[in-house]
Symmetry: C2
Subunit: 201 residues, 2 copies
């Protein structure tokens, strides 16, 4: 008789992480529940205890993993910078530097799910929209702060700029995936830097 200590929260996270990795590489529709279960230490029965359907698992990935990832990678580190504009650029740089060459072909997990699932499932669409909006909203907060502190020209539309920054960051991963080279990430970074520099006071 098995006596393994059980921690439902840990098991759930373990399944989510395994599913995230599989879906990141092969797409949501390209991965089956069996594929995911094989990558975990749980049985298929246990899987269904945590997630009633594959879609429920996908929604949890968006709500929990993706929104947390956006905050941790792009936003929370900005608190460390006196000048938020420099912070935004520096984060972009660090994220490019820390992206392994072999990951370039997999793109951005948020962008991947948007392109694949937003048009075919309204729940995915709403949830993905929330994460994308969170990313833009948080950038806007820091741009407003930059403007208040005099690091950004007063006439800059901070909402438009926040949208543009997120678009360029997403595009570097999206187009980089098509071109298959990190060169395109640096190209995006350099152009964004030039544009932001033209908007600083």
């Amino acid at each position: 008789m098995k006596k393994t200590a059980r921690d439902p929260e840990k098991t759930r996270t373990h399944i989510l992480d395994a599913a995230f990795n599989e879906i990141y590489r092969k797409g949501f529709q390209g991965v089956s529940i069996n594929d995911i279960v094989e990558k975990t230490s749980v049985t298929k029965g246990a899987f269904f205890h945590y997630f009633a359907t594959k879609n429920d698992l996908g929604y949890a990935i968006v709500d929990e993993i993706l929104s947390q990832m956006i905050m941790e990678r792009w936003i929370t580190p900005l608190t460390a910078y006196k000048n938020p504009v420099k912070g935004i650029l520096n984060r972009f740089k660090k994220i490019i530097e820390s992206t392994p060459d072999e990951s370039v072909c997999f793109g951005c997990p948020l962008n991947n799910l948007i392109q694949e699932m937003a048009p075919v499932d309204p729940v995915f669409k709403d949830k993905l929209n929330s994460v994308m909006s969170l990313w833009i909203d948080e950038n806007e907060k820091y741009l407003k702060k930059a403007q208040e502190l005099g690091y950004l020209k007063k006439n800059v539309d901070t909402r438009q700029l926040a949208e543009f920054i997120v678009m360029v960051e997403e595009a570097s991963f999206g187009v980089g995936k098509g071109i298959g080279s990190k060169k395109i990430h640096w190209s995006a970074y350099n152009s964004l830097r030039k544009y932001l520099m033209s908007l600083t006071s």
Copy 2:
């Protein structure tokens, strides 16, 4: 006995167009050969006469439909403009204007296929890379021309700028698909216009 006149080239185009529309809405992996055949006037047997596999059909969509679409939408009309920078901005504007609101949620057909198929199939990856490179190369040609004619500052790296323009255009459709609103397309356009204006002589 059927006496319908047969035109293999027309039939092939008819299948490709039907498949393109289905795949644009539902994704390549989300559509079966049966789904595609149902949208055509041909039998499944006839389908296989033209395309041995679903992948062969997908490759033909990239090689023929997508590359032609990129040229017709974004590049060929640039010949009409004395100032290529204005031409690039004007095309972007016209493409946003002509995109029906209900299409925003389907994004860009090239971007969709890159995000879905480039990481899982090397032939797709190469072919999609070729179309993306064509788009960048052609933009670069017009930017060089703009530089020669004095419409763009001499110190602008035209390759980097061509990559940036394509990234912003793609991102407007990619992020627009996530946000579900054309507002994001106009945001991309306005920021790109400001950046390009800062680079003109």
